[in-house]
Amino acid sequence: MSEIPLPHRAKRVVPWWLLRHETMLAVILLIALIVLGGLNSRFLTLDNLLNQGRLTTEVGLIALPMTFIIITGGIDLSVGSIVGLCAILLGYSWKVFGFPLPLAICFSLLVGAAAGFLNGIVITRVKVPPLIMTIATLALYRGLAEGISQARSVRGYPEWFYFIGQENLFGVPAQLWLLLIAIVISAIVLDRTIFGRTLYAIGNNETAARFSGLPVDRVKLIIYTLSGLMAGLSACVLVSRVTTTRSDMGIGYELDVIAAVVLGGTSIFGGVGTIWGTVVGLAMIQLLKNGLALTGVKGDATIVVIGTVLILSTLVASSLQRRREGV
């Protein structure tokens, strides 16, 4: 019985991990690095690469919980608006309500978590599809940020607050440490815990997961709340880096975040994806942006590249998946 050969496995010449989407992406990334480095001598310097890490932290922090969400087959389009709302509330609670800054930071993180919690509770209780729920809150949260701030900015934070956004710790940008810790924790949670495996179960077949007694709604509620919380954290890092608070902060983040996650091999249909893939996806997008900028392509044209890469990579990924499933 146990000797029944697995035909599709026996035929394989290349080891399985080489064919993985993430591995191929990493190879492409490596080639891109070498080519871009050859085109511009400023590209492959440690300073530049570390600086790119600094710039990718804000999107990266949100991309981790977004990976969880997309693995379950959901999506969160409101993250950019949550960043705006949290940034505004950080500035306003400090400057206008007179909170001490540490309290203001906690407050804005709390608001981020609450915003994500609201998404999660409506998605799980009322069963509103995540796409439309987060389109609604994309408008709502941005609207709150605009309404509260009346488009006025807040600046003049105390010196210590700029540490996380601008200083180095052991020669590495301070916020990059934050991102690294978050990556390690997310990877362990996704790969090694029951919670993480539940995410895949939900994404593969939600009904089956429910019947297996998995706490589907609770898990979903946690990941949407986490997404809001990380968007809040990202807002704090962003404000600290750019030193001002404006209500238009984080506009378009959802595109960068989803692009990184999908580029990293997480299927938008759910059930498939890894943190490692998201990290490679993040690096890919940031280096593409930076490399293009260094070779003289304007910032707006790089959005075009990201959009194209997003569509093409989904095309490739879905056709690969179809071939694997023999459809």
Binding site: I75, V122, V126, K127, V128, P129, L131, I132, M133, I135, A136, T137, L138, A139, L140, Y141, R142, G143, L144, E146, G147, S149, Q150, A151, G252, E254, L255, I258, A259, V262, I268, F269, K298, D300, A301, T302, I303, V304, I306, G307, T308, L310, I311, T314, L315, S318, S319
Partner: protein
Amino acid sequence: MTAVTLAGAEADPRRWLKVFASQEALLAIAVIGLAIAVGLYNPRFLAARNLSDVLLGNAYIAVAAVGMSMVIVSGNIDISVGALIGVLATISGTLAVNGAPIVVAWLAALVAGILVMALQGVIIAYLRIPAIVVTLGMLSILKGGLISVTGGKWITDLPDSFHLADIELFGVLPFPVFLMILVTILAALWMRYSASGRAIYAVGGNAEAARLCGISQPRTIVMVFALHGLFAGAAALLYATQLRVIQSTVPPNLELTIITASVVGGVSILGGVGTVVGSTLAAVLIAEIASALVFIDVSPYWIRAVQGVLILVTVIADILRRRRMAGV
């Protein structure tokens, strides 16, 4: 016998109740009720000038929402339409300024709209990539492309004959309002009474059942997106021709306003349900609310929050109503 008469007697008032409870009737009541309420607070709101400005300035949103409603009824979504309208307006304006015949400039917007949307439809329907990914990617391609090609420069010195939105039919009816009404009625009739129109509901309601009925799902989706592109082109023309200049950037959050109009108009985001009459009424309501905020001395910066609450409330109501109807 008595039971039958009782049931019959009961059915009549219930049907009336149903008509009044329909999304369209509620929206019409909301449009009129809001006008009266704000008018009582500030009579200047009801001035003919203001009301016609509200209609004129926002007719293009209603026209685009008609196409968006079809897309959502078919079970898809499009978040690239705002960026597309910006691109189409710029294409049309650039042609007009550079001496192309005005009709060509107008047609170019319509044709380009159909092409871009049909392409997205093909990718979604035949290559089976979810609409959200395709349109999100297209959004950034269009937005980034427009800014990097034009550098954000405004188009000025548009020829007078270009201004489609200035035309008044029979000397009274402004063209944008006429187009809004015409497009809505035609689309409503087509979706209700033609086989291809019904196919949209079938595909959105239950794709598998539609397939078994011999309806080609991919072809229907490509058709829906192509039509949506046509309406986006028409909307772009109204948008481009209502002012003396075209800001060749993407109008911010336009797609959100258009989606809001569709959803608030009763188009169910789960697909298969909704009418374009509702979405047009909702577009009028949203424009009215934006104007009303100014007249009751609320900062216009709150408009987007109001929009968000509107979508949220209607979506939740829609889902709860469906669940009650399904008897769950």
